[in-house]
Symmetry: D2
Subunit: 340 residues, 4 copies
């Protein structure tokens, strides 16, 4: 598979590595708004620098990976889909739910073939947890908890353009909930605060939040986010079922345990998403190549991307209004989404 990479920033480089390392994919060309970025990446991986338009127009290129700035995602998805490419686009589809649903309409029945980069679904531990649920190992699922803390908050300048914690950070957890529960919720109830940094609150966002999701069949999910966990990247999932509990715990930097008079000290969780999710990015790419080659539906697609964004919209409204928001209140969303 010949691949064009749109976007040569930090996450573009992560994907370039996965594309190059895969036996069935070849990185052919890269584009970036900052040509220097594209040149540096092209040099490392031995590919050409082109414009995004040129890459999409090149009929010898089978697939594009969209890792550009969020505001360009929907346009590029539409263009690449129209050009018949296999598409893997980074999350979120857009900060605007309206634009994302328009994109969904525009691509029509190609939506299931457009993969959205919810990489955590491909983490070996979350994958094993999901497989255990699907195998019935804990019976019927009843209560899901997702803990997702970043090691340190981004600069307030980033916060201002990020779309807010729910669209930028918790969107991963909304998708994880959809992945684990196998359907989207009927209501979203959120509280948020800026106890980590008042400047984040002044910028109109929250840095700490707890969200409760309810499901049509009575199940419940709770998601907790914080922009700061000084001990590292804390990414845990826990599901109670009728026959047991499944927990996916953190990966640690190493397995050394030191016992002294001061206590018993283990290694910290791997520091951030590049360390923690590198295997997930590789597995994500492999899943994309597999589905593209088989011309089958993508394991996580544009419908899922829009569903997670709609939940972020609902959470944002819930914090503002101080009450639960039904998914039916969200325009263009029918209440039970694509994840089912």
């Amino acid at each position: 598979m010949r691949v064009g990479l749109l976007g040569a920033g930090r996450i573009g480089n992560v994907h370039a590595q996965a594309i190059s390392a895969h036996p069935d994919s070849e990185l052919v060309a890269v584009s970036d708004a900052f040509e220097k970025n594209a040149q540096a990446l092209a040099k490392t991986y031995g590919c050409e620098v082109r414009s995004s338009d040129q890459i999409i127009a090149d009929s010898s290129i089978d697939a594009v990976l969209i890792a550009t700035s969020t505001d360009t995602h929907s346009d590029l998805i539409e263009a690449a889909a129209a050009a018949g490419k296999a598409v893997l686009c980074e999350k979120p589809v857009d900060l605007s739910l309206e634009r994302a649903t328009a994109c969904l309409s525009a691509v029509g029945d190609k939506a299931s073939g457009i993969m959205i980069g919810f990489n955590r679904r491909f983490d070996p531990s979350f994958g094993a947890l999901k497989a255990a649920i699907d195998a019935g190992e804990i019976g019927k699922t009843e209560l899901l908890s997702i803990t997702s803390f970043d090691p340190a908050p981004p600069p307030v300048e980033y916060i201002k353009v990020s779309g807010g914690l729910f669209r930028d950070m918790m969107i991963h957890d909304f998708d994880m909930a959809n992945f684990i529960m196998g359907e989207t919720p009927v209501s979203v109830s959120a509280v948020g605060t800026s106890v980590v940094d008042p400047a984040i609150g002044e910028a109109g966002d929250v840095d700490t939040a707890a969200v409760t999701l309810t499901y049509a069949d009575g199940r419940i999910a709770v998601i907790k986010n914080s922009r700061r966990a000084v001990y590292g990247y804390d990414q845990r999932v826990e599901v109670l079922g009728s026959e047991g509990l499944l927990q996916a715990q953190n990966m640690l930097e190493n397995t050394v345990v030191k016992s002294t008079a001061a206590g018993v000290v283990s290694a910290k969780p791997t520091y951030f998403f590049l360390e923690r999710y590198m295997p997930a990015y590789k597995a994500e790419w492999a899943a994309f190549v597999r589905a593209a080659q088989a011309k089958s539906d993508m394991p996580v697609n544009l419908h899922d991307g829009v569903a997670a964004l709609a939940m972020a919209e609902a959470a944002t409204r819930s914090v503002k209004s101080g009450r639960p928001v039904a998914m039916t209140e969200i325009p263009g969303i029918s209440g039970r989404g694509a994840a089912a």
Copy 2:
């Protein structure tokens, strides 16, 4: 200290053991609505069987422990307080918040000297977690999570008279939140469902619930309850602070780990509250004796008992109304409670 025990049921027997084992307390008399219960306990611990009235009227008795049925708690607290006894009463103060606040009024400034049996505050692990917070080991607390699952649901007949999950089971977790956070919340938002057993739902109660508490200073707490965790009694507390995370994990039945081709198997959590909290019951009694001897305020008192009950009332209303409930909406509660 000469002690009279009111109530010789399961929990009365637990307390009898703690009273007898303590070097500074002596179990003098026991009462029970079922005299056979009282006689059995009296035989084991070598004390007299009397009526509750006789015990309260006996000026040679210094302290009474109230472990009778919940509907008698407030009356006995008032009578024992009026008789000048040191009082330790099992939770809850009453199923009716109205009756409990009336009791609080009735005892007046003796309320701080009446201990309520929130035994979990005396669990060694929760105690060590609280001490670490107070020592500033994780900086300022921001986000609290309490997981509290029973191993198996009680009979539906019990559910019907229990006051419901929030007053019967989560009340312990409300008190734990007050203990850890050092104050009562400003709002309570609850969802509940009966995914464990529809019959519990038909009886008007929930068996699985998630509650979000918000605090005046922006902090957040999340409590999860389930009536069924088939692997045992799951009792965990986790607090994120500005400088770290504290977790109190489950006690296990033993420390054996078995690794076979089928996986790596550890022991389950201790099965239920008698196993898990026996050290806590002993430490609770020791704290009571200490405070009674010093004539100082009880470490957890009638104010705390009413505060937790008010939170249960708010959670019950929140589930019914489908919206967050401000603590100021709860009659007779001023919003920030005794825990501060």
Copy 3:
């Protein structure tokens, strides 16, 4: 069961507590070389102070617990056995293997009814490990490892009269090996050193040792001892079998885990044997009462006491000679001991 306690030192007090707490045993009398010790214990537990001879001669006393200094054990065992008492004697039987084997001869066929206080067999975790082996959960056992470190070395003055690390400390581990492996070894190979404290070496003892045991059927056991583990009392057992591995790990002081920028810190192991083995002492006493009432063989008896002492003798010789010592070289020991 009416019980006389010989010896009111630290370990005597531990046993007094277990005797008093057991529903079927009553502490009637206590003796001690230092009468003040006996008086203090008698006051706490409400029993009489007598001489050891008086206790043994009192036909109303059913059982004696011998917790006196080691050099008196064999004499008291012989006297109490002759008087028809049920006997529980602290380890070791004697520092002299010769004296211990003479005691074994003296009591004749009563040996199986004399319990030796190898309390660790009654630790819940070691017991669960042994039960798992007996249930075939790891198939055939092949390789045993015992790690046994004290938190801090005793005074050199104590070392000098202790009989040395093998008789005083590792004797527990020799018995644990006999318990786990179900038979005594055919050879003992030991190395020892005084890296903890050269003064211990100057006193003729070692403070750190590794011993390898071999068994008639080819199995192997390794025991490691150190007089100093600054992080606490380290007591672990690990057995590899044809179908898996069993590990009994340390009990921790509590279950709190603290994650900060400095690492992830858990509680230390419980500090020393009183904390770690209190449940074992209680279970040991219960097992003794049960066997005495049933007039059945004791679960760990005088044969086992002599077998462990013979292994200590072999280890001592091995360190001195720098070569493995066959158990057949040890006078009066037939190579495969009582544990089988």
Copy 4:
């Protein structure tokens, strides 16, 4: 750095991957006794197939990695060293200590520049443990334990040509002991048995062994090996020091924990050396490139390779003779080896 790979078997393929992935090294040519192996590897990594002689004779090749059968190692080391190549040779140097010491003599002062593939030194957890020791975090080291179990025994046909457990398997642990302790031991005492498979015993080897090493300064090390741990590849190191204990525990397949009525189940250790040590192979190659570029001594070199082999020789003799073997008894070895 232009690299020639000698040997295209399983381990050759592991190295080819590391060589290709490193930014400063290029795989130029590969040789193998079975040309099909070489061709397959050459196709995957885009390099030429040549003979070993051709590769060594090619002055444009900077480095050779020797991953051929053990009996060719010494010849190829000598030839490559004579040709001025940087050399990384898989362990062991030879099955014959005599041949290995002759090789050491033959290469003269180039020995320190020839790296031996003791990959475990580059495992992140063992590396972190060693760094903690070097940083003084547990004070002075006193007692080392290495547990090293393979998941399943190799075919008996392999056993027969392997040189035996000590030269084939425990040689890694001998080098680990040298790495951790910072010097070679003064004596080796070994016991071995064939409890896993009697056929291994009939082939003249052992499948389960325990070895005790003593050091000039009194320290002790214990190594345990088994050819079979049905739960996976068990690779642990534990060091007691004057100020604490360091443990490097197993890496697990994932972080999922499942709690059910049957117990609490975690993932097993990664199954075998390819999974467990892939990061170590990459780090090993990076260390080789770094040292070769700097023309500095290799971090683990031919001296270390011979020292570990001498310890395997001593262990083999100890099992046969049934007594400890002093390292001074081993011809050509001076007692304290290169690791110091």
